[in-house]
Amino acid sequence: MRFITWATSPWGQSVPAHVAWGLIWIAIIAGFCFMIVHALYILVVAPPKRFAERKAEAVAAGVPERVPRHTLAARLFHWIMAASMLTLLFTAFLPKVGVQFNWVLYHWIAGCVLTISIAFHIVHASFFLDFWSIWPDRTDLRDAKNRVLRFFGKPAPLAGKFAKYPLENKLYHGAIMLTGLAAAITGLFMMKRIQTGIFVRNPYLFSEMTWGMMYVLHGLVGVGLIALVMAHVYMGIRPEKLPITKSMIFGWMSRDFYLEEHDTARWAVKPQSSDSSEGYAASDGD
């Protein structure tokens, strides 16, 4: 199977046109394979969760019943991004599998919404939230190494509890960031090829080869996002992850879940103040 569809330009050059649409099915199959393998792993192989105890548990008494995890702005960003991402995927790929409709209009509008929400998120996360909380640190890598060693029966200390985000979350964020940015940037340029009313159309902005590579990259990250989104939705509805999913809806997670999964030193929640009527405590936000 060829991964790229090639075309011959009017000048006789062989130029890439777009990715082979068969990759859509490969991405979908990969998404389902991930779900099956992960479900089997959890069901059959995975050892029960055990974390190293830390002295920080002493602060548990000061932890509020509802631990704030995501600000309203962060939650709004997440769901707007999710809606625009799903719209983008459906409008991009349904026509390729035979469902015909006026997809270009909805696609570029959803792309604009996604791009604006990404820009907002970059500013919001950089200046108003704890920027580094979503990036893997040394502790994450050390704990991951220990978990892997213990899984294979090698001697290793128990891994510590998670910071605000488990390493898997951080890695997923990195993957979605790279693919999302690639799709958004190439998509913005591709809007120069169609009539949108936003940009003056200029199909000569790049050479045929550059345009072709851009379409291929846009397509590759697009089909990659199919698998990534499938994996994300699957994780979001897994029973053991539901408290995290709920926190993306309501903004908070329970005190028990927080203490069970998270390291109170790496993700510190300030003690509940006496005038807090809803039981929320100040937090570093997202």
Binding site: A7, P10, A17, Q100, Q195, Y215
Partner: protein, 340 residues
Amino acid sequence: MAVFRDVMPAFDLLQPGSAAEAQQLLEQNGADAWVMAGGLDSFDWLKDRIKKPKVLVDLSGVDELKGIRVSANGVEIGAMTTLTEIANHAEIKRNYGVLSQAVELVASPQIRNQGTLGGNVSQDVRCWYYRGGWPCYRAGGDICYADTPVGRNREHAIFGADRCVAVHPSDSVPALIALDAQFVVQTAKGERVVDAEDYFVGPETDITRLNMLGPGDLLTAIRIPAAWAGAKFYFEKVRDRNVWDFPLMNVASATRLSGSGDIEQMRIAVNAVSPRPMRLKAVEDAVRGKPANAETGEMAGKMAVQGAVPLQFNAYKIPLMRNLVKRAIVGAGPGGREAA
């Protein structure tokens, strides 16, 4: 490496004897099959080696798809009926003259002898970039070569462009829309009958085809209801070469006048301005109850071109369309001439 375009690519030639057999063959071969009616559009594609079907289903031997059947409900024209037969048919000339006028202006007598109504309404666009085999949007690529600052787009769309700016090139279609015709399509799930304007698909929906026919579908007939029989008709085609050319634009209308000469009912359609033939519903509504005169025509013409977006070299189509619509209105009047 040189590209040889002097012989057709190899394909299996299938020659069904009935419409049911033809539909079955199309269904069996799906997207690998190419339907050939008169062959005038098909042979261009095949000899240029741009379309390379594995199977060609030749409908020339399907007699049930040929002929014109007249009944009290109107006329049913088989999809394989030649344009010459339609142009010369007494009943069509008498009661549905706009269609005979339209098909009589298609290409040349030789082409009309071979060309069929089904083929004429289902032909592909005439954009030379697309037909030249370049990887444009319609050909599955990601650019429109005509819609560029130096692209040759004099004949292209002023309405309905969505990436592709090619226009529908048929002369018979606006007449069929004016007559409120219905298209009969055999599909794997049975027969579908759709209104003429619904048979066509714009690039916003599917950029790779001009009509609703998918793999396995077969247009079998076109039915013209008696509702517009004997109405006042108008057809006009503007082209570069009057002896033989595709339309730069054409207009067709069917009008019923009241006793006082006002427009009681009208259907009007324009083609070669958009990837889909355009029925001008707003104009039909606006002229109802008004006299079919120059003033109404002027108003209708202005209304018709609202929203037009010209390309680099086809702005002339806006005044052309305005005038054609005006002439169609005036032509529908008591003293109007049924232009051609």
